[in-house]
Amino acid sequence: MSGTIGLRMLLRDPMGLFGLVLATLLILSAVFAPLLASHDPAAIDVAAKLQPPSAAHWLGTDEIGRDTWSRVLYGGRVALAVALSATVLSVFFGGLLGLIAALGPRWLDHLLVLSFDTVRSYPVIILALAIGPIFGGGIVVLLGLLVATSIPYYARVMRSSVIAQASADYVEALRAMGMGRIRIALRHILPNVIGPILILASMDIPAFIMAEAGISFLGVGVKAPATSWGMILDQGFRYIGHTPWLVIAGGLPLILATLGFTFLGEALRDAFDPRLKRRG
């Protein structure tokens, strides 16, 4: 299916369009956060702590008087940066390892598959709780953790797709023509399998956003003075008895981002690779 037709299908899908609008708004708010923020997100004003929403502070203030609206905007930057980076790195390294597993010697395939399964057997949150304190947390550690636990997923998908393609007639024909394995893989198999993987990756963006927020909520993710929706939620939880707007401020963008990217991903999948939809 051509890109133009796919794009038309995407725009005709109401949920897809809704997702596209939400995702676009979130990306724009993150990119233009310095322009949209009313305050320095790290500026402390304890005298104005836990203020309700007002003209001066649209979403109120937190426990040390920081402007929540500004922190939500900058939190979006972190969420999107982590999610997009994690997606790109996971697809790249996962795809590479999957390709090596599929085309390499049998023993290497076994070794890699065993490694993938071992890593995937650990829940990411548990790993974060164990590794975060050891390495001190922070965005880099968080990103490393998300990438390390996602690589096996993409590697598995890539490996299966490449193995399936490797026995296709056109590959046999290319081999018969004397083309090398690596060249066949990179120039002919990869273009055939990368599309579905990219669509799967787009659907993982909300999962990464949620993971970043969840791990930061638990205190082992993003570190102050950087901000994160998960950190805002954590603060909000502590004061939920008298300042519910903090939880709302941290939770709402998280919900919108998750919905937006999920709808968009599903619409992309339906538009560009309906086979994935059928597989459910």
Partner: protein, 499 residues
């Protein structure tokens, strides 16, 4: 997260008993042995399950009263004579409390093989002479007043059963096999609850409750929800909750603000490479906005501290608290050439005690003078036990210690021999160490007060300490009972009564 979920699960799962007192504790105890205690839960249990010769009495003022002792003769401050009440029977079939138990309980702390965490408190102890089944003399190496007030009547003075301890291998873990009092340990389900029930061998005033359940709930929200749901009868919360709860108390709840003697301070390790220059340490002292911390951490319920001795206690300094001076701090950093230096701030990242807010304020304050602070929040167990923090590389650390109305209890730990243990600040001062010894053996209160004040001056001048406050707590209890507290709000639940 687990704590938050478990609190909600507890609300739904716990059965209601008409004569069961349910108290929230922050965590499970690890050691209910006076030699190793450290956490709040362990304090609670040791205070309520073990006898002492005398102990601080519930009330608004720090006064001691006889406990297991029938009489105590303090007329000779080097040789304290005592006589035990007869007929105090250890639970678990370990017989009657005798002077041999007292001797064993105190002298064991001097045994280096035990590794007692309170060895400093017993530094003056020479031996305990048993002169009869119930009588004995505590011989000190020198006359001392603080040995009584800082050690004997506090948690550290707990007496354990010699027979039970030896049967248990020399120390107790989370479940003591022998206690004396209205209640004894019945069961311990880690993460769920500790159950105490009536000790049938107790001949004193019986406890008012059939059972006492101590339920670990780590965060204040969970504890408040559990109280509102009727599943808790007593909990201690952060002072931040006081305004909200006092204006809108939970149904059947009595709200009280307690000013503790627990000091809270920023430790600045003088041996850390980034902090070896005293100008950097002094700059940190001057840059931190303590009033802002107090507002964020306790809604202003705690007052700015001038030292480790709490206001109104012996040795409390009357000098004004250190004032913020950003310009002077910047100048000191410039003189030291320390702009851009990175330091790590370790702290206990508890959900509801305001420590996260405190750490972030310090981070922002120090950024103003050009220092980069990496925050390292940890759970309580990791913070207090991890070797890298305890022994090798502490830098900045936020600490809150259980206090004592006699501040020597804490101040005696900042000596060279404690550097790998409790003196994380690595304070090394000859005058200070001499004053510790002097304080231990000074009888006159006025003279002792002067010594304590001088010790705190040295601490502050070293640049190793930024005194922040003494903790304030919100205490929430059920109106159907009369709760008993020490003057700092610590519950003496063994004597809680039903109205």
């Amino acid at each position: 997260m687990i704590a938050k979920l478990s609190a909600l699960v507890l609300c739904l799962a716990l059965p209601v008993h008409a004569e069961t007192l349910r108290i929230a504790i922050p965590s499970d105890p690890a050691y209910v042995d006076p030699a190793y205690f450290g956490s709040t839960s362990e304090f609670y249990l040791i205070d309520n399950l073990y006898p002492r010769l005398a102990k601080y009495a519930p009330g608004d003022a720090w006064k001691w009263e006889l406990d297991a002792a029938k009489s105590v003769d303090l007329s000779d401050p080097q040789n304290i004579k005592f006589e035990l009440k007869p007929g105090l029977i250890w639970s678990g079939g370990f017989g009657e409390l005798t002077a041999e138990d007292v001797k064993y309980s105190y002298e064991r702390h001097l045994n280096p093989d035990l590794g007692s965490g309170i060895i400093a408190e017993f530094k003056l102890l020479d031996n305990v002479e048993v002169t009869g089944k119930y009588t004995g003399i505590i011989h000190l190496k020198a006359p001392s007043a603080s040995f009584w007030t800082a050690t004997m009547v506090f948690t550290t003075g707990a007496i354990i059963s010699k027979a039970a301890a030896e049967a248990a291998g020399g120390y107790f873990e989370a479940v003591p096999t022998a206690t004396i009092g209205p209640y004894k340990m019945k069961s311990f389900e880690p993460g769920m609850k500790i159950v105490l029930d009536r000790d049938q061998g107790w001949t004193g005033t019986p406890g008012a409750f059939d059972e006492i359940e101590l339920i670990p709930i780590a965060d204040d929200n969970g504890a408040t929800i559990a109280f509102e749901a009727g599943e808790l009868d007593f909990t201690t919360l952060n002072a931040l909750d006081f305004d909200m709860l006092s204006t809108n108390p939970p149904k059947g709840g009595v709200v009280k603000l307690a000013q503790s003697v627990d000091p809270f301070w920023l430790g600045i390790t003088e041996t850390a490479p980034a902090l070896q220059d005293i100008r950097v340490r002094q700059a940190i002292q001057l840059a931190v906005d303590v009033p802002a911390i107090l507002s964020a951490k306790s809604n202003g319920k705690a007052v700015q501290a001038t030292g480790l001795a709490a206001p109104g206690t012996l040795g409390a300094r009357t000098t004004p608290p250190m004032a913020r001076d950003l310009e002077r701090a910047k100048a000191l950093i410039a003189e030291a050439g320390a702009e851009g230096t990175t330091v790590r701030l370790d702290f206990v990242s508890t959900a509801s005690d305001g420590s996260n807010a405190t750490a972030q304020i310090i981070q922002a304050n120090l950024a103003e003078i050009g220092l980069v602070v990496e925050l390292n929040g940890q759970d309580e167990g990791t913070f207090w036990s991890i070797d890298s923090i305890r022994g090798t590389d502490p830098q900045l650390h936020l600490k809150s210690w259980f206090g004592n109305p006699d501040a020597l209890y804490i101040m005696q730990y900042f000596t060279r021999e404690q550097i790998k243990s409790w003196n994380w600040e690595a304070l090394q001062n000859d005058e200070y160490e001499a004053l510790v010894d002097q304080a231990r053996t000074t009888i006159d209160e006025g003279a002792r007060s002067n010594i304590y004040q001088r010790m705190q001056e040295i601490m502050e001048a070293s640049g190793d300490f930024l005194f922040i406050s003494h903790e304030a707590y919100t205490v929430l209890s059920r109106d159907t009972m009369e709760a008993a507290y020490l003057p700092d709000g610590r519950p003496v639940f063994a004597v809680f009564r039903l109205k």
